[in-house]
């Protein structure tokens, strides 16, 4: 009985594809795949057939042609004779600007509101609840329109600054807040060698150096603390590293301020933040912040009360408990939903045309699409862009999430 015979060689019969559980799942998966491929094939061929019937073709040659229209907000050189491609890039940069500024603002507001909503102060927590409920339950497009309408209606227009008895005047004679946007003083360097971009490169280099210096001081302080048990005072060194080199650089490079002035129809000079940009960014951030606040609140509530009590029994003050114990743990819960809020904000920025902000949807998906009539090509490009940017955001945030999530060892 000790001999082992070879197991019977199984012969494969087609009926096994349905009856044998080993194969059945594969059968259904293959069938589903075939149906899926067939469906997409049908849709695509239908598209091409209909395009051919209408005498249209898919071509991206229009991107190299002159756009012919002007864009008010441009972060790079652009004029009406530039190509459609360049107009699209201007739009991409405008979209990214709103997305980045909006995400940062929304995070700050969201975290503050989320924490305050848990405050023991009845008034504060109720006010924050009202904020959250009002802002997240009204569509964002309406918020954008409301903010813009209030902006335009409430703030004075440049014409109100004119004349002897002007109705409006500049704030501190430095800032002009008009319904068309904010004109702020702009720093620039008078020294010849620094007047181009070099002056700003120096400033950036100093900031980077200061960050490194601060870190080094921190590490040294920690080392000393571990050796002696007393953390040395470091704030005066940190302050020095940040302030002294910067002041010297400003004096050497001859820092000056360009003050906005009312010339002709508009304020000229200084930094100009357009009303559409401010309205759009503000509306998107306060709307998204309401969702982020809820994420933050959920994250904090997810940390068991025992953690707070344990920290309190060690003698930590409430603020330090929040900063050192609760928030670091809450981040693990907060970050995954935060990613999708960032994605939402970025995608919602495509509502920009409602206030006349020229983002990518306004340039490539708006005027270019209209003037060239290349709807399918433009929409495909738009989809590609938003897909890329969304995947990039979630990629970056996932890397961050991996760095803070619970390390199981």
């Amino acid at each position: 009985m000790s001999t082992l015979s070879d197991p019977p060689v199984e012969s494969f019969r087609p009926s096994q594809l349905i009856n044998d559980t080993r194969y059945r799942s594969y059968t259904f998966q293959v069938i589903a795949l075939i149906c899926l491929v067939g469906l997409f094939g049908y849709l695509l061929s239908n598209l091409f057939q209909n395009l051919a019937d209408a005498g249209l073709n898919i071509s991206y040659e229009f991107l190299a042609e002159p756009a012919g229209y002007d864009i008010n907000q441009r972060l790079i050189e652009y004029q009406s004779q530039s190509t459609h491609l360049r107009a699209s890039i201007v739009g991409v940069l405008n979209t990214l600007l709103v997305a980045v500024v909006g995400c940062v603002l929304a995070t700050i507001i969201g975290v503050v509101v989320g924490v305050l909503r848990l405050s023991k102060n009845w008034l504060i927590s109720k006010v924050m609840s009202i904020y959250v409920e009002i802002f997240r339950n009204v569509p964002v497009l309406i918020w954008i329109l409301i903010v813009m309408a209030v902006f335009v209606a409430v703030l004075p227009q440049p014409r109100d600054f004119r004349g002897e008895n002007a109705e409006a005047s500049m704030f501190l004679d430095l800032f002009a807040f008009t319904g068309r946007g904010f004109n702020l003083p702009m720093p620039y360097f008078t020294a010849e060698w620094a007047s181009g971009g070099t002056g700003w490169l120096v400033v950036i280099a100093l900031i980077v150096a200061a960050i490194f210096g601060t870190r080094m001081i921190g590490t040294r302080a920690t080392a000393q603390q571990e050796a002696t048990g007393v953390r040395p005072k470091t704030w005066q060194f940190t302050l020095g590293i940040w302030v002294v080199p910067m002041l010297i650089a400003f004096v050497v490079m001859g820092l000056a301020w360009e003050i906005p002035e009312l010339k002709g129809f508009n304020f000229k000079g200084g930094i100009f933040a357009r009303n559409s940009f401010i309205a759009l960014t503000l509306a998107l951030s306060i709307y998204t912040a309401a969702f982020i606040a809820e994420n933050v609140r959920a994250g904090i509530l997810a940390i068991s009360k025992g953690q707070t009590e344990a920290a309190a029994s060690l003698g930590l003050r409430p603020r330090r408990i929040m900063n050192l114990v609760i928030l670091p743990q809450a981040l693990r819960v907060i970050i995954p939903p935060l990613i999708s809020q960032y994605l939402n904000l970025t995608k919602n920025s495509s509502l920009a045309i409602a206030v006349g902000y020229m983002d990518l949807t306004g340039t490539l998906g708006g005027i270019t699409l209209n003037q060239t009539g290349r709807a399918i090509e433009c929409v495909l490009l738009l989809m590609l862009f938003y897909l890329t940017i969304s995947l990039a955001i979630s990629g970056i945030m996932n890397v961050y999430n991996n760095s803070v999530k619970l390390k199981e060892r």
């Binding site: 075939i34 005498g55 002007d70 309408a149 319904g179 559409s276 409602a354 209209n370």
Partner: protein, 338 residues
């Protein structure tokens, strides 16, 4: 195996997708309604009145075509379109014709595959500014903020004009006329630019129209007319000759008032051919013999439509100007009905 499946699917799809190119006339008759694309609201050209009935100069063209084809001037479904959506709506077949003060340009005609059937309003782009600015010429607008409807030829003309005169400006793109008005009135832009007729219509809707002036410069040619899809020439002919019938009726003195007695037959053979008491022009179009009579009775001839909607007696107060008959020194000139 997968490859053959794809190929098979493609073949099947290819077979089913060779859908018949539309015979729009049959579609309209079967539907019993004409789908006509108009603006989202521009008083005088196309806007719903107090009772929700669409009314206006462009609307009149839609109603005339509906009357010619279906015999009922009210058998029109008005589809509001923006500057951005209008061409997609027409190309996709959502609407049968577009009468939305659309400028006839080379690229729209040739590249976008549309067929402009004629011109119902000769226009040009102008500028409107508040009187208090004290501007008397568009060339003084250096540095001005200009509100502009996006998706129109106006933004291209604007860029060209300011570039040619080497002056700077700041464009504020707006989606519709209705959104542009409050921005202009609040002072968020110094100037509003669009076709001169549109400026007149917009200004007429202001609380105090006299506080605003339309500058004398007309910076472009804007021949506005109805258009249809490329490829269905029978349908294009119907819309073209309906428009021509309205223009010819004015030239021949046929009005909504006297059309009843004239259709019985007159001494003028051209009127008889137009109104169907002589010849078989209607049959050639695939319509009834009295198609033109119905079209003209719908809202009157060209002059009557003009006077009732945008003429000098209305709030918009446009004079005929270029839009007078060729016999009066204008540009309106219908080919003969023969």
């Amino acid at each position: 195996m997968k490859k053959t499946v794809i190929l098979g699917a493609l073949t099947v799809a290819g077979l089913t997708a060779t859908a018949a190119a539309a015979a729009t006339l049959d579609d309209v008759k079967a539907r019993g309604k004409l789908n006509c694309g108009v603006t989202t609201g521009l008083v005088g050209f196309a806007a719903p009145d107090a009772n929700g009935e669409w009314d206006g100069f462009d609307v009149g063209v839609c109603r005339a075509v509906a009357a010619a084809v279906l015999g009922d001037a009210s058998a029109v479904e008005f589809v509001p379109t923006t500057g951005k959506t209008r061409f997609t709506a027409l190309a996709s077949g959502e609407i049968d014709m577009l009468a939305r003060n659309t400028t006839w340009t080379f690229s729209r005609d040739v590249d976008l595959k549309f067929e402009f059937v004629g011109i119902n309003y000769y226009d040009g782009q102008g500028f409107m500014v508040p009187k208090e600015l004290g501007v008397s010429s568009a060339k003084e607008l250096d540095g001005a903020t200009v509100c502009i409807q996006t998706g129109t030829t106006t933004e291209l003309n604007l860029a060209d004009f300011f570039r040619a005169n080497n002056i700077s400006y700041e464009p504020v793109p707006i989606e519709t006329n209705a959104e542009a008005q409050p921005l202009y009135l609040e002072g968020a832009c110094d100037v509003y630019t669009t076709d001169a007729s549109g400026l007149a219509a917009t200004r007429a809707a202001f609380e105090d129209p006299s506080a605003h002036v339309v500058l004398p410069e007309i910076i472009s040619k804007e021949p506005l007319g109805p258009l249809v899809r490329h490829g269905d020439h029978e349908w294009g002919d119907i819309v073209r000759w309906t428009l021509n019938a309205l223009i010819a009726a004015e030239e021949l003195g046929v009005t909504a008032a006297n059309i009843g007695e004239m259709s019985g037959g007159t001494d003028n053979p051209e009127i008889n051919r137009l109104l169907g008491s002589e010849g078989n022009l209607g049959e050639m179009l695939g319509l009834d013999a009295d198609w033109a009579m119905k079209a003209i009775s719908a809202g009157g001839n060209y002059a009557e439509l003009f006077e009732a909607n945008i003429g000098e007696s209305t709030a918009i107060g446009l004079s005929r100007g270029l839009n007078a008959q060729w016999t009066d020194g204008g540009l309106l000139y219908s080919p003969p009905f023969r």
